[in-house]
Every structure is written in structure tokens, then in C-alpha cells.
């Protein structure tokens, strides 16, 4: 029984990291139709910013979160403004462009900071562990889980309860009609992309104490996060949550039962089959084509 709960908690922990990374990807993909292959690099930038602030400015992880969000969001805004906004109606080219941007970001970090591994310290207040259902769980993982829920709630409120969210949803429906009502699509897109990038940066900062920080750390995350988005359905935030935790539990279980290669291959095959048979995701209803 203990092992079962341990497995569940591991799954929840993996799921919250997945959701953290996928949330930004989902917002960008769902609202702008852009598969952002540079998303992993935003995660990486967040982790490096955390390392930089800690090692050079002595700022703790918790205190750095807001500056990290702002910094990565700003980079995202610049990329949207000067690269992606030039590629309206060329979806295939946007994946290529974001992929190129990803290479540039990764190489840029490698050339300036170097490719050796970096480490970020846990916040001292969260470095102990607590007991949940008779099991000892690291406080930081509990904290991660709570932060993820808060960020999700904030994102949901932004999308559904604010003017900018309403404008974004209007643009998603029909860009030209929205524009004729005076909505500045360019500005909304820029802000959306920046917000998604900022979220990725936060995700990178938050996972940095758990894993080592390196220029290519983002690549793995983007695949998993993309899987979450595809599974959850493009325009459904709730679906994203459900699929993040389902995948968290699944990969926990598969890793426990099988070797890593098989787990990876199975995840990829699942993506292929899912796209083929339910491109709209598992948690959305079919609508008129």
C-alpha cells in the first residue's frame, strides 16, 4: 500500500512539473496556433537566470521568481515581435522559425556561459521534508505542486476574467472581425507569447534545484510538454491539467515497470496514434470543421 501511495505522489510531482512546462506551450499553441519549438529553451533560460541571480547576486530562488518571469517574458516578447509576427498564416514556417530561435538561444548560452553543468540551491526554508499519508515527502515538491496550482488558477483567470483574455479569445475566433472591433491583434499576440514564455521561464527556475542546469536541458521538456498539449486538447486548459497528471502517473508507472527506452518509445507511439485518431485531443468535444 505504501508503495502505491509513493507511486501516486511521484506521479503528482512529475505531473506538476509537466503542467508547469506545458501551460505556457498550451497558451501559445491554443491561442496563436504556434507550435513553439523554442519553448524548451525558454525553460532553460529560466533555469540559467535562476542560477545567475543566485551565484552572482546572491538572490534566493523564491526572491528571483518574479525577475525571472519578467526577464524570460521580455525575451519572448522580442521574439514574437521581430520573428513570429512576420510569419502570419505560415504555420509550417513558424515551427521552423521557432526551432531556429531555439538553436540560437541554446548556442548563445553555450558560448557565453559555457556548457558545463550548473546547480541551483534549494530555498533553505523548503529543504526539509514533511509527512503525508504516512510517507515522507520533500517540502519542495509539495511547494512545486502548490505553485503549479496557483499559476494555473492565475492563467485561467487571465484568460476568462480579464479584458485581455477576452480580446485574445475574440482573436482566436476570427482575427479580422476582432480587428474591426478595434482589437490590436499584434499587441495581444505579443503579450500572449510573452506570458507563455514567462511561464516557461518560471518552470525552468522551479525545476532547476531538482536537476542540473545545462544548455540542452530544454529539449526533453518540450517533447513531454507537447505530448501534454496534444493529449489535453489544444484549446482546453482543463484538459491540459488532466493530461499532465495522467501522463505524470503513466510515466511514473512505466518507468517503474519498464526500462527507459521502452517508456520513451511508447510515449512517442502514443503521440502518433493520438494525432492520427483524435487530433483534437482527448478532452475536447468535436466541433464543426
Amino acid at each position: 500500500m505504501d508503495q502505491f501511495f509513493e507511486q501516486i505522489i511521484t506521479g503528482l510531482s512529475i505531473g506538476s512539473i509537466l503542467l508547469l512546462v506545458a501551460l505556457g506551450l498550451s497558451i501559445i499553441y491554443g491561442s496563436m496556433g504556434i507550435i513553439n519549438l523554442a519553448h524548451g529553451e525558454f525553460v532553460m533560460l529560466g533555469a540559467y537566470t535562476a542560477w545567475l541571480l543566485q551565484s552572482h547576486f546572491g538572490l534566493g530562488l523564491l526572491a528571483s521568481l518574479i525577475p525571472i518571469f519578467v526577464a524570460v517574458a521580455l525575451i519572448g516578447w522580442v521574439i514574437e515581435r521581430f520573428v513570429l509576427s512576420l510569419l502570419n498564416n505560415r504555420p509550417l514556417d513558424t515551427i521552423l522559425a521557432t526551432w531556429g530561435v531555439g538553436i540560437v538561444l541554446q548556442q548563445g548560452v553555450r558560448l557565453t556561459v559555457g556548457s558545463e553543468l550548473r546547480y541551483v540551491q534549494l530555498p533553505p526554508s523548503l529543504s526539509d521534508s514533511m509527512v503525508i499519508v504516512g510517507l515522507s515527502v520533500s517540502s519542495y515538491r509539495v511547494f512545486l505542486f502548490l505553485v503549479t496550482i496557483v499559476l494555473f488558477a492565475v492563467t485561467w483567470l487571465l484568460m476568462n476574467r480579464t479584458t485581455i483574455g477576452m480580446k485574445l479569445r475574440a482573436i482566436m475566433q476570427d482575427r479580422s472581425v476582432a480587428a474591426s472591433f478595434g482589437i490590436n491583434a499584434k499587441r495581444v499576440y505579443g503579450l500572449t507569447f510573452a506570458y507563455g514564455a514567462g511561464l516557461a521561464g518560471l518552470a525552468g527556475a522551479l525545476v532547476s534545484p531538482l536537476k542540473s542546469v545545462s544548455p540542452d536541458m530544454g529539449t526533453g521538456y518540450v517533447v513531454d510538454a507537447f505530448m501534454v498539449v496534444v493529449l489535453g486538447g489544444v484549446q482546453s486548459l482543463a484538459g491540459t491539467v488532466a493530461s499532465a497528471f495522467i501522463l505524470g502517473q503513466l510515466s511514473g508507472a512505466i518507468a517503474f515497470l519498464q526500462n527507459d527506452t521502452v517508456a520513451k518509445a511508447l510515449v512517442l507511439l502514443a503521440i502518433v496514434v493520438l494525432i492520427r485518431f483524435r487530433p483534437e485531443g482527448l478532452f475536447t468535444t468535436r466541433v464543426r470543421a
Partner: protein, 364 residues
């Protein structure tokens, strides 16, 4: 009809050994030419068919392994253990040659398989994808994921595939009494002949009605259906043709490199092909070919120094983004514009003011 650039490029390729008197250099150039063939195959499916295959290296890898398996079995008994088993199988305690290795004792079977297997795999995958009208970005994701799965399987099944190390220590290919030493002229001319063949086959296809219909599908898939064409069949066809050419390139790569490796069907190579194709011009066969040869060649020249290579990757990234943004037709498109401009100016100066630039965009 723009066959002239193809003929010029082929002539230059065949003339290269006259200029390059260094076997080592010749081998390197042959390598880039092979990568050029691979890029032509992508131009066919992406530039003409609108199918961005991010797993193009899968067909390349299959071809490469087909050739490597045959050449490995030819090394008996040097790099084999008892009973003619490849060395890595002996190390992994495999008792008998697996059934799917048996036919590769025949070199003709291997050559046929190197082309036909990728084409069949692509046709099967294409059937899976296009029959259900999966389009655009989703096609790219499926192709990429499929390739990674195959890559993982090959690495995982070490006792049958050589795993991470690939298949090394190969014999030389011998056909019609000619030995194809990786550093010899014979190999270079073999590669050059295949460059010409690939360019001509691809060109013939783009000039056929089927090629025209494939381009129409790229422009407006739905519209083509209402003229009575079965869109999926055309997509599957161009997908398989492209895979066959990539398979040919893979076989040549094994001959030139003298081994096969899982990296040949890796994400890195697959994405590099996309860059070469985009930079050279995805809607131009010659352009994409030259894009690969030039970019890969330059990368090879710089790879002597690790620091240079890192910078080069950064420069390539920036260049790639710029090409995607501002030169959707790549350098070939730029060349076309320049050519029109020159022709136009000459006509204007000569006072002939009509019949300017009658060209079919997208050919050659």
C-alpha cells in the same frame, strides 16, 4: 523547362576529381554530395508536395543499414566469429544469424532492399497519415516521432543491430569487378552518377502531370479532390518516391563513411536536412542539393576547431531564421530573381520590350 542548371551541376560534379587531387578531400566531397542527394529527396516531398517530413533521415538510415548489413556479412571470417556471425553478435551471445540478416548475404538483395524498404515503410506510414487527412504540422510530428522510435529500437536491440556503436568494420563493396574503396575514384564516380540519377528522376517527376498535381495539392489540397483526384494516393506516392531516393543516399553514405550508425537516422541529421533544404531553396532541386553541399561542406571545414563549430552552429541558426522569414524560396529563389533582373535589363537595353521571364516557378 529548366534542365540546364541540372546538367551544369552534374557536369561540375563529374569534373571535380580532375581538380581535387587528394583522396581524403575527394572522400569528404563525396560525403557532402550524398547529403545533397538526401536533401533533394526532402525538396521533393516538402518543396513540391508540401509534406514537411521531419523524419527524412529515417529512410536514409534504413538504406544505410541495409548496405552495412550486407558489407558486414562480406567480412566473413575476418570480423566474424564462429559460424559467420558479425562480431557484435558474438559479443552479445547471439547463437545464430537472425532471420532478417540472412537475405543480406546477397549484395543485390541489399541494394534492392536499401531502396524498396524505405519506400514501402514510407508508403505504409503515408497510408496511415494521409488516408485520415492528417495535414501540416501534424505530419511533421508523426514523421519525427516515428523516426525517433526506430532510432530507439535500433539502439536498444544491440545484439541484432550493433546498438549505439552501429555496424562497423565493413568490407568494401564490389560490383561488376570494381571495388569501391571509400577513398577511391570509383566510389566518387558512383556517387556522382547517383547524384545525376536522383536529380533527373526527381526532375522528370516534377515535370510529369503527377508532379503538377502534387504541387496543386501543396497549394490547395481540398480543391484538388473536387477534380476527382485521390489526394492521399498522390501524397503517398511522392512520400515513397522521396523515401526511395533517401534510401539510395543512405546506402552511398555507408560506402563513403565505411560504417552505419544510429545517428544516421537521428533527429540532428533530420533537422539539418531541413535547414539545408530551406537555405538552398525547397522548391528547387538543384538549389536544395547545392544548399546541402555548401552548408555541410562549410560545417565540415570548420569542424576542425570545436570553438569554431559552436559559433558556426549559432551563425547557422541565425541564417536559418532569416531564410525562413525573408527567403521562403531560399538561395535558389534569390538566384532566380537575379537572373530575371539580368535578362530583363538586357532586353530593355536592346529595346525588346516583350516576352520577359517566361518561367515556371518551382522547377529545376
Amino acid at each position: 523547362m529548366q534542365i540546364a542548371p541540372i546538367l551544369i551541376v552534374c557536369a561540375v560534379v563529374f569534373a571535380l576529381p580532375l581538380v581535387l587531387n587528394n583522396d581524403f578531400l575527394l572522400n569528404k566531397v563525396a560525403r557532402y554530395l550524398v547529403l545533397g542527394i538526401l536533401t533533394i529527396s526532402l525538396a521533393l516531398s516538402w518543396g513540391f508536395g508540401g509534406i514537411l517530413n521531419l523524419g527524412q533521415a529515417m529512410s536514409f538510415g534504413i538504406g544505410s543499414y541495409a548496405m552495412a548489413m550486407a558489407l558486414k556479412l562480406k567480412t566473413i571470417p575476418v570480423h566474424t566469429g564462429s559460424g559467420g556471425l558479425p562480431d557484435f553478435m558474438v559479443w552479445n551471445n547471439v547463437a545464430r544469424l537472425p532471420w532478417f540478416w540472412e537475405p543480406f548475404k546477397s549484395i543485390s538483395f541489399a541494394i534492392a532492399a536499401g531502396i524498396i524498404v524505405p519506400a514501402l515503410v514510407a508508403a505504409g506510414l503515408g497510408w496511415f497519415i494521409f488516408r485520415s487527412r492528417v495535414t501540416g504540422v501534424y505530419v511533421s510530428i508523426i514523421t519525427l516521432a516515428t523516426m525517433v522510435v526506430l532510432n530507439l529500437v535500433i539502439i536498444d536491440q544491440q545484439s541484432y543491430t550493433g546498438g549505439f556503436n552501429g555496424i562497423t568494420d565493413l568490407a568494401q563493396l564490389e560490383l561488376f569487378g570494381i571495388a569501391f574503396d571509400a577513398y577511391g575514384r570509383a566510389t566518387f564516380y558512383l556517387v556522382a552518377t547517383c547524384v545525376m540519377l536522383s536529380l533527373l528522376v526527381a526532375f522528370a517527376f516534377t515535370c510529369s502531370r503527377a508532379g503538377l498535381i502534387v504541387q496543386a495539392i501543396r497549394d490547395h489540397e481540398g480543391r484538388v479532390r473536387y477534380f476527382g483526384y485521390d489526394v492521399a494516393t498522390y501524397q503517398i506516392f511522392v512520400f515513397a518516391l522521396s523515401a526511395a531516393i533517401a534510401g539510395l543516399a543512405g546506402m552511398l553514405y555507408t560506402i563513403v563513411m565505411e560504417f552505419a550508425s544510429p545517428t544516421f537516422l537521428g533527429v540532428q541529421l533530420s533537422l539539418s536536412v531541413v535547414v539545408w533544404c530551406a537555405v538552398g531553396g525547397r522548391q528547387s532541386l538543384v538549389g536544395s542539393f547545392l544548399g546541402a553541399v555548401l552548408v555541410a561542406g562549410m560545417q565540415g571545414a570548420l569542424s576542425e576547431s570545436a570553438a569554431f563549430l559552436e559559433t558556426w552552429t549559432l551563425v547557422m541558426g541565425v541564417l536559418f531564421v532569416l531564410v525562413v522569414l525573408f527567403l521562403p524560396k531560399g538561395l535558389a529563389g534569390l538566384a532566380q530573381v537575379a537572373w530575371h533582373w539580368i535578362v530583363h535589363r538586357r532586353q530593355v537595353t536592346q529595346g525588346i520590350a516583350h516576352g520577359v521571364g517566361r518561367t515556371r516557378e518551382g522547377s529545376a
